[in-house]
Subunit: 94 residues, 7 copies
Amino acid sequence: MRIKPLADRVVIKRLEAEEKTKSGIVLTGSAKERPQEAEVVAVGPGAIVDGKRIEMEVKVSDKVLFSKYAGTDVKLDGEEYVILKQDDILAIVE
Amino acid sequence: MRIKPLADRVVIKRLEAEEKTKSGIVLTGSAKERPQEAEVVAVGPGAIVDGKRIEMEVKVSDKVLFSKYAGTDVKLDGEEYVILKQDDILAIVE
Amino acid sequence: MRIKPLADRVVIKRLEAEEKTKSGIVLTGSAKERPQEAEVVAVGPGAIVDGKRIEMEVKVSDKVLFSKYAGTDVKLDGEEYVILKQDDILAIVE
Amino acid sequence: MRIKPLADRVVIKRLEAEEKTKSGIVLTGSAKERPQEAEVVAVGPGAIVDGKRIEMEVKVSDKVLFSKYAGTDVKLDGEEYVILKQDDILAIVE
Amino acid sequence: MRIKPLADRVVIKRLEAEEKTKSGIVLTGSAKERPQEAEVVAVGPGAIVDGKRIEMEVKVSDKVLFSKYAGTDVKLDGEEYVILKQDDILAIVE
Amino acid sequence: MRIKPLADRVVIKRLEAEEKTKSGIVLTGSAKERPQEAEVVAVGPGAIVDGKRIEMEVKVSDKVLFSKYAGTDVKLDGEEYVILKQDDILAIVE
Amino acid sequence: MRIKPLADRVVIKRLEAEEKTKSGIVLTGSAKERPQEAEVVAVGPGAIVDGKRIEMEVKVSDKVLFSKYAGTDVKLDGEEYVILKQDDILAIVE
């Protein structure tokens, strides 16, 4: 079973604290406001603006930083995911 | 009798809890905020932007996740439906 | 005497409870929020966007569902009507 | 002396209660919210959108329904008028 | 010395009560909300929309009605002026 | 060292009270709301709208009126400047 | 490891107080509102508007002034950065 996000939405999976430590990223600020690291698991086809589909900038398996409270949490086959708009993704971490 | 949604609206039918269990999706968060699973039963012709009709991304019989409080509830021939804008649909579940 | 709505406005006449029963539609939710069924009696020429007139999706004698508190009530020759924007019409019922 | 409204503005003159009775229109709702009947006395040249002037839909001597609190009241040569945007006119009454 | 308003701004000079009486205009409503009569003394080059400059509709020496609290008051060489956007001008009085 | 404002931003330097007296401009209203006179010291390249850069209307050394609380104060090499968007400039004074 | 900001986002590194003194910039106002000086360390590909990507105006190693509370703080490999939209950058300092 798969989740296919619509338009410019993206499905991501939060990376655990251990992974975060390995990648060397420590997010500052209070827990409520700090962005989180995640891996992209599904990417929508892109929004349509003025009749043209806008190509998405992220792709599956990208590591990304996103605003913690952006998007909607869903659990699928025992795993938790977040569905959010690509614009709520701050950056790709390589 | 049929409901034909206008523009970019979609008519969906909520999937019952049993079906949700079968599909393996468990929606997290409080009952108030969690998205719901539904089946598309009617799709509008698409919104018109800059004089062009935008093709819809969902089609009849798609299983979708949508924001629980999006749209308007109606009951037709004894069945309950929700009429909502396609943009309130988060993803298609396959 | 006739009412000619401007731009993308539509004039509709509420359908009585008996007619609603016949059509098989029962609208759920509290009385305050539930949509209502009505018949279209006049349709504006369509809004003009980017210099082009957008064709209307509803036509006279369509049965429609609309948000109860959308639009403005007027009484003409003893009959009550509602003038509202087409975007406040949720769907056509056939 | 004349008032020439700018862009998509219209100058209208409220029709008195007697005229309203003759035309057969009775406006429902509380006095505060009900629309009013008026006659168009001057029409702006139309707004300019994307470099093109949008033709006005109302013309001088049209009878119109408008939202009571839309626009601005002015008195000219002893007569009271309202200057409002065409979009605040709900419909033409014929 | 001159004030050259930018874009779609206009510099106007309020007309005194005596002049208002001569022109036959009496503005109704409370003093706080009533529009005022003024003479245009400088006109901006027009706003640029989609790369094209929109021609202004008012010209120097036009008598205009404007919303009393629109714009900004300035005093230049002993005279008081108002700088406002053309859209805050309701109509030209001829 | 120089400040290069981005897009449609402008760097201005407030003119002192004495200079204001010389130019003959006295700004009315309370100190909090009155616009101020300034000299343009740097001009951005212009905003990009629909893929085209919009040419700026002010140039270095123009005397301008601007809304007192628009923009951001910075001090550079001992001098105080304001960085603001061109749209917050009301007019050029010649 | 690198942070690649999306669209029109920029990653910047705050400049310390000593560097600020060397550059001669002293930012006025209360600490809460004053803009800050920073160095650009990564630049997004630019936003897409009407199907065209808008070229970014800042580049890596530019010294910039930005609104203190704009953007999101992140710490990467022990260094603190801010991810913000280019529009929250006021000016380039040369």
